[in-house]
């Protein structure tokens, strides 16, 4: 068997599992684990329950950096910029990350994506990201015994994927946030345009923020024209259909990829089949 040089959701999940398994075996701090495609767009992200909320976007930015620079942060830091790394960020507003734990995923000699971890020391972040890379080159799956919130998030995401596949709908992006609106999980099904990632995330955020399904928010706050929408601070407002408030252990589910009506249906039916 050899390794296909396309990065898909299954491979991204395998890489994340390899990272989580490594960090658990080594008693490392829980964090966020991100895999992006060659354009730096999220394919999968998971955050363990007790990990700091802020690690979500740090992990994504690390993976993004490795993808779009086709280099490890370690090399950017030690070989290329050597203390002048801030210059890169004049253009990229701090997104370019020189903190170790950001490495490109290389398959058949090509950079097909990036791997990012945040939540440990720099040495720890680097070790965990390396474990993710190595995980791509393991044939067997890693079993991980994750905490309740992430475990439920995974089963909801799987239920959405099954629903979409068995009803032959367009693939979707899925975001599951905690009650504070911070993602526990983001998955992009194969074939989903990356633009839907942010839509699913903002729908889930909006549902958590108002404890309502995303499209019901206007009923209580009126039609808002101007609204805080800072990707930098995770404040993202979206009142189209597709965000469902759950509010028990986890916060909300956001789905995007079809029409808003269809996305709403996917989300509710997927939760129904799990009795949530």
């Amino acid at each position: 068997m050899s390794l296909n040089n396309t990065l898909n959701l299954n491979l991204a999940r395998k890489i994340i599992n390899a990272m989580i398994s490594f960090s658990m075996d080594n008693n490392m701090l829980p964090g966020s684990y991100a895999v992006t495609d060659s354009g730096g767009h999220v394919v999968a992200l998971e955050r363990r329950d007790s990990a700091l909320p802020a690690t979500v976007d740090l992990a994504i930015d690390k993976a993004w950096t490795a993808s779009v620079m086709k280099l490890s942060a370690k090399v950017l830091d030690q070989v290329i910029t050597r203390g002048e790394g801030w210059r890169l960020n004049v253009k990229y507003h701090g997104r370019m990350t020189l903190i170790h734990g950001a490495i490109p995923l290389i398959i058949q000699g090509e950079v097909v994506g990036g791997i990012g971890h945040s939540g440990e020391s720099i040495e720890g972040d680097e070790k965990i990201a390396q474990a993710g890379f190595a995980g791509a080159y393991r044939e067997e799956e890693f079993e991980t015994n994750v905490e309740k919130g992430l475990e439920i998030s995974r089963s909801i995401a799987e239920s959405v994927i099954n629903y979409v596949n068995s009803n032959k709908l367009k693939p979707v992006a899925i975001t599951i946030t905690d009650v504070n609106g911070w993602p526990l999980l983001i998955y992009r099904m194969d074939g989903t345009p990356y633009g839907f990632v942010e839509i699913s995330r903002s729908r889930a955020w909006t549902s958590s923020a108002f404890k309502l399904n995303s499209h019901e928010v206007t009923k209580i706050v009126g039609e808002i024209i101007e609204c805080p929408n800072g990707e930098d601070s995770n404040e993202r407002f979206n009142t189209s259909q597709g965000g469902i408030y759950i509010g028990n252990i986890i916060g909300s589910l956001g789905v995007a990829g079809n029409s808003p009506e269809e996305d709403y249906k996917i989300a509710t039916n997927s939760l129904k089949s799990l009795n949530i």
Binding site: S2, N27, P104, K127, Q130
Partner: protein, 404 residues
């Protein structure tokens, strides 16, 4: 009814009888300990230790390794140990020397740097890569004519070479066997056809399970080569990561072997594949190396990888009929750490949360560093509090067959 497993008690268990496990067993057999080496195959060194280029880095090569790494340290410290070892254990150690071919100015500049690094390393006592006096013949630049003198068949394309007279070759499985037989003669036990498939930790001891034995042991040395990640995971002792690098090598017969005297190589440009051909200990030639990251089960020999070896050989020696002298092709796997940057290093260490467990991961140039491996393991275990008492009657040269 479940089969009853035979219990074996031992102080130290070494999983894997490749060059690493065997070399470490020999070093440990100098101390008052009971040692058991456990190997899944029916003989010594049948995996990575067989499927490689058989070179012993003795100078220029070692000096290209990243300073500050264990990879560089153990290789360079092994240089002066090899000739003595070959004498003690009576295996063939053939100095072939290496020619690093110069195509143009850019090659020349690179080699100049290496040349001065080698010079410093062999002279400057403060150098982190000091090669002890007397064990290193200085490198030398050869012009076209001198190069032709050394290798009459070499292509006219090259206008010189950096010559490293130190480089040597051995038969790695023979060396591994020599280490093992000396360890055996000094009291080490060997279990063959014994594959470890489960590991438990019971009141401070490790229990290693195969389908025949339970081996109860205080200390484990994980020297299982490309499988070291999986073995470590059984004990939650994997604090490292690597990717399997598959290398494909083509071997040519001794008729061609007579035509080439040195390891000859060019630096790859814009390609991850090594470009070299070198004589073996027994007068044949090995060429390659096509390198790819892949699953470890993907042992298939690819046509393009064979072609690479032949093309390299023909670029270096255009007049020789390589196609008609192929003996065999084979693939081997090495563990590569930091595959994203190529900043490979060995791993020899005790994981923070699993005391008395030592991981040994080599990857490239592991054979060359083998004389130092056991010493490093002893150093690390001593630092962690294990007490070693030297045996009075250790004998460095006696050998006893390991297969009963």
């Amino acid at each position: 009814m479940p089969k009853v497993l035979e219990t074996i008690n031992t102080d130290i268990s070494i999983i894997g009888a490749g060059i690493a496990g065997s070399a470490i067993a020999r070093e440990l057999s100098k101390y008052d300990l009971s040692i058991t080496v456990i190997e899944q195959k029916n003989d010594i060194g049948l995996e990575g230790t067989t499927t490689n280029h058989a070179l012993v880095c003795q100078g220029a090569d070692s000096l290209t390794f990243r300073p500050g790494t264990l990879h560089a340290e153990l290789n360079i410290k092994s240089i002066p140990l090899w000739p003595k070892l070959a004498e003690e254990l009576n295996f063939k150690f053939r100095r072939i020397g290496g020619l690093w071919l110069i195509r143009d100015n850019s090659d020349f500049k690179k080699f100049q740097k290496m040349y001065s690094r080698a010079f410093k390393s062999s002279l400057d006592p403060k150098s982190p890569l000091l090669i002890p006096e007397g064990s290193f013949i200085p490198l030398k630049f050869l012009n076209k004519k001198e190069l032709k003198n050394e290798e009459p068949e070499i292509s006219d394309e090259f206008f010189g070479a950096l010559y490293d007279p130190n480089l040597a070759t051995v038969n790695p499985p023979e060396v591994a066997k020599a280490y093992a037989e000396n360890a055996k003669a000094n009291g080490t036990e060997f279990l063959f056809n014994t594959k470890i498939n489960n590991i438990k930790r019971v009141s401070g001891k490790f229990e290693l399970y195969s389908d025949k034995y339970i081996i109860k042991t205080d200390i484990v040395i994980n020297a299982s080569g490309i499988e070291a990640d999986k073995i470590a995971e059984l004990a939650k002792a994997r604090d490292f990561s690597y990717v399997p690098f598959k290398g494909t090598i083509v071997e040519f017969d001794d008729e061609l072997g007579k035509m080439i005297n040195h390891e000859t190589l060019i630096l790859p440009r814009g390609s991850p594949h090594m470009q070299l051909i070198s004589p073996t200990y027994d007068g044949k030639l090995r060429a390659g190396i096509y390198l790819e990251m892949t699953f470890r089960s993907n042992k298939e020999i690819k046509d393009y990888a064979i072609k690479h070896a032949i093309n390299v050989s023909k670029t270096l020696y255009p007049g020789l009929p390589f196609e008609n002298h192929i003996l065999k092709s084979f693939t081997g796997f090495m563990a590569m750490t930091n595959p994203d940057t190529g900043w490979h290093d060995f791993v020899i260490g005790i994981p923070e949360f699993v005391p008395n467990w030592v991981n040994v991961i080599l990857g490239p140039a592991g054979v060359s560093a083998s004389p130092m491996l056991g010493k490093k393991v002893v150093e690390i275990l001593s630092k962690s509090g294990v007490r070693f008492e030297e045996k009075k009657n250790y004998q460095p040269s006696i050998r006893k067959g390991v297969i009963s």
